[in-house]
């Protein structure tokens, strides 16, 4: 099969059916955009989970010089108090899996890393950061044990378990995510049907050519390849459309709006977007090729 012949056929096919080509590109583009957006949301939620569940350990914040809690009435935590807290925590093994101490300096470094690019990070100073013990529980639901043992003790400002509030948040986000994916999949299904129908129309409008091709002994590949490549080309066009809209989402929605408005978390970076684009385009092209091949098996039988 000569490639110049195949390419000429593809070009003719796309041009002859311009409105259909356009419809396929737009539909594929829109559904792939939704699909890509769903993938980005997934990555965003995943990142937020990583970010927040990191803190799902119980945090025992120690009194600093400016702490106002009643248990901090005696001023900043002393070394003796710290030793006592640590040994008490160690004695709670195996409920307590690991304990580590985070100094004010370490807290600042971590804070700056997590809020990189945000004005919060730039303005933070060491003395604003609390010292803390980070306690990872073997069974994270047993927070109450730690809370009752340590909250209100002198030298301890607060005992926090972020897990509960996070769980509720992520449940809601998970629901949204599932809804987004469902819509994206419904759109992809519509895309597949549209491509299948386009192929049916195209094979019908070119049945004279294909019947002659069969008669003179053109191979199945030679007969179907131009159609499949047409579908793949349209889908690729739609994929590029989707890629551009994902870039637009990153630039305008995430970087310009969300990241400046919501500073409590970090947002997905370009790496995620660059990963998503080939997935989105590849999915579009693959779906088109599969849909076209299956349809053509039915309508262009040798």
């Amino acid at each position: 099969m000569r490639s110049s012949f195949v390419l000429a056929e593809v070009r003719n096919g796309l041009r002859r059916n311009l409105t259909m080509t356009f419809a396929v590109i737009v539909t594929v583009g829109v559904s792939l955009s939704l699909f890509g957006a769903a993938l980005l949301v997934r990555a965003q939620v995943g990142q937020m989970k990583d970010y927040w569940y990191d803190r799902v350990q119980v945090s025992i914040f120690l009194c600093g010089p400016v702490s106002e809690a009643p248990s901090c009435a005696g001023g900043a935590v002393t070394d003796v108090q710290k030793q006592q807290i640590l040994s008490d925590l160690e004695s709670l093994k195996p409920l307590v899996e690991t304990v580590y101490y985070e100094s004010q300096q370490q807290a600042l470094v971590r804070f700056k890393q997590q809020f990189k690019g945000s004005p919060l990070a730039a303005n933070a100073t060491v003395d604003q950061m609390p010292e803390s013990y980070r306690v990872k529980l073997k069974d994270p639901t047993k927070f109450a044990v730690i809370a009752s043992a340590f909250s209100g003790r002198p030298g301890i400002e607060d005992v926090q378990d972020q897990r509960q509030s996070l769980d509720r948040l992520f449940k809601a986000l998970g629901g949204l995510q599932a809804l987004g994916l469902a819509i994206a999949f419904a759109m992809l299904l519509v895309t597949v049907l549209l491509i299948a129908n386009t192929m049916r129309v195209a094979s019908f409008s070119r049945r004279r050519e294909t019947s002659i091709m069969r008669l003179v002994g053109a191979s199945n590949t030679a007969i179907r390849l131009p159609f499949v490549l047409e579908a793949a080309t349209s889908a690729f066009g739609g994929g590029v459309f989707a890629a551009l809209s994902l870039v637009a989402v990153k630039v305008f929605l995430i970087d310009h709006t969300l990241a400046t408005t919501f500073q409590f978390t970090t947002f997905i970076g370009w790496g995620v977007v660059l990963w998503t684009i080939p997935i989105v385009i590849g999915t579009g092209v693959l779906l088109a090729v599969v849909a076209a091949s299956i349809t053509l098996r039915r309508y262009l039988r040798v």
């Binding site: 000569r2 012949f5 019947s211 002659i212 069969r214 003179v216 053109a218 191979s219």
Partner: protein
């Protein structure tokens, strides 16, 4: 004429019904062999072909005659492996078509040229483009196409009309283009399904002369036709079908050989 045909059919030397003997290939020169072929189309009770056995040798010119619905087209479609027999065996160009894998069918069809009553040309391609199409789609290089197409157009008598579009040609000329397209890849076999069905008698004679010329080059020609005048004039082998049955197989036969 009919009476004469019957006489020939009954007489010894011309009549050659096949015997049931079926080892293949007995003669290497055999290009088409039907062996007890029965074809029942889906959803139909009456077989389109019933227990047909025919041998066609290389270089023969065979008329396939019979009323509409007698099974001529089914015979051609089985030869092209567009259909498979319900029972029996079909050999074409040394291949058992009942066992031929689907992906090998295109290679088989490159050895068979096909011509139809309605020409089946591509209206947006020129004469040369229509002929070249048959080579392009089987992947022949452009240089070969450029040298072969003018030759075959000259053979069919269309030199000088290479750049015309089909609707600028007469029916006879269009059929010549179709024959050129069928023959450009030099197939062993040329199948023609009522090639003169849309043409006036004078034009038909021209087409028959062309098919005869192609036959003389060594191509086996099988032509289904209703055209009694042509069959009578050519005096080639005649295979007559009636309601799917082979009722006559006669060399140098005429159209109305049997009822």
């Amino acid at each position: 004429m009919a009476a004469f045909g019957r006489a020939v059919a009954a007489g010894f030397p011309g009549f050659r019904r096949l015997t049931a003997d079926s080892s293949f290939p007995r003669k290497s020169a055999l290009v088409i062999r039907f062996e007890n072929v029965t074809k029942v189309h889906k959803g139909q009770q009456r077989p389109a072909l019933r227990d047909i056995s025919v041998d066609i040798e290389k270089g023969e010119f065979v008329f396939l005659v019979g009323a509409s619905g007698s099974g001529k087209s089914t015979f051609l479609r089985l030869t092209l492996r567009e259909e498979r027999p319900t029972s029996g065996l079909v050999y074409v160009a040394g291949k058992d078509l009942t066992k031929l894998a689907g992906w090998k069918v295109p290679v088989l069809r490159r050895q068979i040229g096909t011509v139809f009553q309605d020409f089946r040309l591509l209206p947006n391609r020129t004469v040369a483009g229509n002929v070249a199409f048959a080579l392009e789609v089987i992947g022949k290089p452009a240089s070969e196409i450029a040298s072969v197409v003018p030759n075959v157009l000259e053979l069919v008598g269309l030199e000088g009309k290479e750049e015309r579009l089909p609707d600028q040609l007469s029916g006879g000329e269009q059929q010549r283009v179709a024959i050129a397209r069928a023959f450009v890849n030099r197939p062993q076999i040329l199948l023609a399904d009522e090639p003169t069905g849309n043409l006036d008698p004078e034009t038909s004679i021209g087409i028959m002369k062309l098919l005869d010329r192609i036959n003389r080059i060594g191509t086996t020609v099988v032509m289904a036709t209703h055209d009694a005048a042509i069959v009578d004039q050519m005096r080639k082998r005649v295979i007559e079908l009636d309601s799917g049955r082979l009722i006559r197989d006669q060399s140098r036969g005429v159209y109305g050989g049997a009822i």
